[in-house]
Amino acid sequence: MFSKRTFLLKTITLVLGFCFMVILSSGVGLAKKESPYNATQHYIDDVMQLFQEYEICSEKKIGPEEKKALRKDLSKMAAKIFDYDYMCRKAVGPYWRVFTDKQRKQAVKLFTELLEENYFGKLLKHMQEIQRLCGENIRVMGQEMLSSDKAVVRSIIVYGDKEYPVNYNMRKKAGKWQIYNVVIEGVSLIKNYSSQFREILGRNKPKAFLQKLQDKVASQK
């Protein structure tokens, strides 16, 4: 009877110990959940690692095939970093309600293409601009929580002899922090697009607006 009781106690202790370990490990998992500050730092590290893989910082000449592959990798990485869907919604503003689901998807796709083409498609044509970003030239300075799922992360980019304050508006989506706006020297990218989109949408219906967006993207290629 006594040995049975001891056995039971041992079993309970073991089970509880196991539970404790599971909970503790999940706790460590939770503790590791990223803050917007850490997420930004990791995104910068990932991009820098990609640059290293392609030996961009060693000023090696990069052939057209390699550029194509780099562009594809950058595009994949950007899809993880940026919340394109929300960016587009913000830029279109209240008119988003008039868009059909199909039009919304098309708008996000075209807007993504426009941003990608301009913000790294063109950079790849001028590799020296990327090379100037090599090294320790982006410093993440701090974060400010605006709500439980929105934050601003501040950084400084050293470009040439000058320092530029660049801030990122971030939003938590499915547990991950993603960037939905970039503010360079106080100029907000999404506010800028919003002013353009709303001016066009004030004169044109969504269909015509999407046609303009499509024409613009086509003219970039």
């Binding site: 509880l16 706790g27 500050y37 929580m145 605006l146 601003v152 907000s188």
Partner: protein
Amino acid sequence: MFLVFLGIFVFPPQVFGSEPVQKGRGDTSGNASVEQGGPDFDLGDEKSDNLDQDGELDREALYQKLRKQDQGRKKLIADPLEPVNRAVFKFNDKVYVYVFTPVSDTYTVIVPSGLRDKIGNIFYNLGYPQRFVNDLLQFRFSAAAKETGSFLVNTCLGFLGYLDVAQHIESLNNPSPPDNDFGVTLRYWGMGQGFYIVWPVMGPSTLRVSTGMVGDYFVEHYTDPFTYYSSWELSWGFRMEERLNSVPSILNRYNKMKGAALSPYVAVKNGYVQYRQNKLRK
């Protein structure tokens, strides 16, 4: 054990983070306000949308309603001269493409980017009187002192400002605002930004900035050593080089903005006004 269990779920994950978290909104370069930025970011309430007889969303009626609302919203800046401004903008674009671009391309071949930055440093350093006078007019005595210190250090030890030695001296860093002008002073004295103006060749401006430029011109003119000690040709040559040296970077920015814009006129106007308004926040 339950306490451990509860503890993990009660405390939010941020508690475990150790990264620097800065509070306060005074120094966020306009970023926090992006979220509180009023009408530009209202997505509206889809629940209150009009539905037609079949319960479908009446998109036409909603579009007309939103358009009306949007026309009535407060704009970033008034633009009563829009037709004239747009014409000047088009003219400027041609000047930038057909005159400035070849000039800039030639200049960048002769003067590489590193040297352009250094020449820019010299001109920035010699623009000290303008910043100093405006600091005083805004009662920013600490900034005026920092500017004076930076100017003396960079002029004497940094070869007229070719090297920015002062940036390595902490007490001389970040005079606020870093690029003070008479437009900022006018704002300090209560003048509104006025309306948007596109000047031929010079490009975007506001009524306040344009008025300020007149004040800065006089400060520049009366503090320019060339005015007193040498010929006007040398003075003008000096000013021309100052403008020329900044053309490649301005052109680069303009082309990037134009390339990425769906409506370049609106993009430049909005970008310029946001930039100026941010400058005033510093």
